[in-house]
Amino acid sequence: MPRTFRGGVHPLHSSHEGKPLSSGSAIRELIPSSVVIPVGMHLGAPSTPCVQKGDRVLLGQTIATPNGFLGVPVHASVSGTVIAVEPRQQLKGHPEDCIVIENDGLDEAVPFTPAGTVESVSPADIINAVRQAGICGMGGAAFPSAVKLAVPEGKKAEIVIINGAECEPYLTCDHRVMLEQPLRIVSGLRLLLKAANVQKGVIAIESNKPDCVVSIKAASMNYPEITVLTLPTKYPQGGEKQLIEVVTGKQVPQKKLPIDVGALVFNVQTAAAVSDAVLLGKPLYSRITTVTGAVAQPSNFLVRVGTQFGDAIEAAGGYKGEPKKIISGGPMTGFACPSDEVSITKAGGGILVYDEAMSREDVELACIRCGKCVNACPIGLMPYQIKFDAEKELWDAAQKHNAMDCIACGICSYSCPAKRHLTQAIKLAKDQIAAKQKR
């Protein structure tokens, strides 16, 4: 029996996690007439725009420069004219600086200079190319990849894990990339192994994507250092901590990082972007994103970073019925958008549209102490308890109940029969505890 992690759930089991809606749709390119590129798409300080209104920019040109240790540069995803550099409402609570470019349709690019081949390139050159290309985690967390690859002094990476679990219901973009472009992923992994000086690479795929297992196995069979692992379909199989435990048998100690157990985890599309950055010299300005739910033709698109949700939904045949909720990401961890005028970012794997029926919100009832949240929590928390703490604003108690270990997977709220907003309460507790620690 394969190793597994504690707890977990299987949402939308009977409808194959909602994935058949879009899993059969081959990747199509979507080129919008304009893009709105936020300068803060990654974890860490937002970058500083280095172009002005009226400038003509080329595809792949740097339009914002990085700030600080976790900084990541931003590149133009189309060629054309900058028509605005201004704050726009995205997914955060406040408007963010965005660079708006009108696409001239020429795709005139800056010259791309490859850093070398997998065999010839040096580890330092790989990390440098990844940094220059502006790559950050494309699975959702948007952590700068070059920072992850620069393993700190005294620590040693032993394994690189490529996360192809795609455990969020509905999303199929990683599925299509693994199926259609396995070589990008495999060469990306080989480069990552080289950069981190590691001899063992694993590509982990959930069992609901057997076609991907076949394609990735075929693409990696000449590389004995790469193993393809099929994991049971169980949410959150693709959670970083869960994945590390399942693959290595080790748990990342509390308050430590994956590198402390010798593991580096990258999303499949991040690996593919690393391959493009090193072998083609291409910066990260496009990605594969799923547009699904209540749209006419659920699809997987090769989109330019900064494409507006509305443009992507239109390309998917438009809304099916009246939209009631638009989710950036998957249904378990995604963000509900205030409008369809928000942008697809480097980490934006999905646009999920809900109609009225799908958006139904149940009334929150009293806890009946059924224990479902406790049994399902993959971290071993007692979510009902932290919710009680949060209701009474007992932040110290919440901290004692390990609120800070929450990975916000959403399972507690998902499984609660009384429809209590557990995940939200724990998130609030985490914010309060973090604010207190800063003081």
Binding site: E361, L365, V374, P417
Partner: protein, 307 residues
């Protein structure tokens, strides 16, 4: 375009408090039917009175306290059914009403309503009725003849004239006793439904029954006859499994079940009551917060702090 902005997750499992209670009600139906078969139509009347008064008390108390009305969650119906099934078939209608008042008003609503009671409402009501009207609560009738339960008659004071029930009688319920507890087949049917629908996990019922049989055997009883006599099975399946008053973790539930089994055996062997299921579960209810405090799941990557 007017969009709904709400926090993740954006899907919820197809479970609800009401749905869970509905399953429990369905699981209790075999017991109601068996009791009606064995003791007559009076059983249905008592169940109806009990359910109706529990629902009315819940409604009234919530109206008076200006709380959200929760009758539709069906928990008062479950309490009413379990309370009725805990009474002898000879119980008077007013005992049922008093029991319902204790269960809903005193135990449940005064402590804050559903989820806040620290004792099982129906069981507490039974305990109070038991100490208030002991003769009426122990007036068991089978086939028109007043009899002691097999448990009472197996004690030292049993009269020689009573023919001991066969193991088969104990199993199918052809014995005097509380309405819900006599027919073990019906209880096991209910258990199967609770397990299959995953409303209840095996941890509490199994640890309760196994620990009881073990300690009964240690104390010199025939474990099979002991487990088929009295309310052990009914208690283990329908009352010890009450979410609100048992521990949150699987480990804690095992401790809880083992404790219940041990206490029933101890009360039966050493106590003055012939039966101890009610008090055993109530005592373990009181230990539940303590068990929850110490039986926490291990947190992912937990580091033992030796400092």
């Amino acid at each position: 375009m007017k969009l709904l902005v709400s926090p993740a997750p954006h899907i919820k499992a197809p479970v609800s408090t009401q749905g869970i209670m509905a399953v429990v009600i369905a699981a209790l139906m075999p017991c109601v039917i068996a009791a009606t078969w064995i003791f007559g139509l009076n059983v249905l009347l008592l169940c109806a009175i009990s359910v109706a008064s529990c629902v009315v008390f819940e409604l009234l108390s919530e109206l008076i306290a200006k709380r959200r009305l929760t009758v539709s969650d069906l928990s008062a119906v479950v309490t009413g059914l379990i309370l009725a099934l805990n009474l002898p078939p000879t119980a008077s209608w007013w005992m049922v009403v008093v029991g319902s008042a204790v269960a809903i008003l005193l135990v449940k609503q005064l402590f804050g309503g559903i989820g806040c009671n620290f004792l099982n409402p129906a069981l507490t009501a039974r305990a109070i009725l038991l100490v208030s009207w002991p003769a009426r609560m122990n007036n068991f009738v089978l086939d028109g003849v007043s009899q002691a339960t097999p448990l009472a008659s197996s004690g030292a004071v049993s009269s020689a004239s009573v023919v001991p029930a066969t193991t088969l009688d104990l199993f199918i319920g052809n014995i005097p006793g509380s309405m819900g507890e006599v027919c073990k087949i019906a209880i096991l049917l209910g258990l199967v439904l609770l397990l299959v629908t995953r409303v209840v996990s095996w941890h509490v019922p199994l640890s309760f029954i196994a620990s009881f049989m073990l300690f009964a055997w240690i104390f010199g009883y025939d474990p099979l006859r002991a487990v088929l006599s009295g309310g052990v099975l009914f208690g283990a399946v329908f009352m010890a499994t009450d979410y609100v008053t048992n521990p949150m973790t699987r480990k804690g539930q095992l401790v809880f079940g083992v404790g219940c089994g041990l206490l029933v055996a101890v009360i039966r062997r050493f106590g003055t009551y012939p039966e101890g299921v009610t008090y055993a579960i109530l005592i373990m209810n009181i230990f539940t917060p303590l068990i929850d405090r110490f039986m926490r799941p291990r947190v992912y990557g937990e580091v033992k702090n030796h400092a």
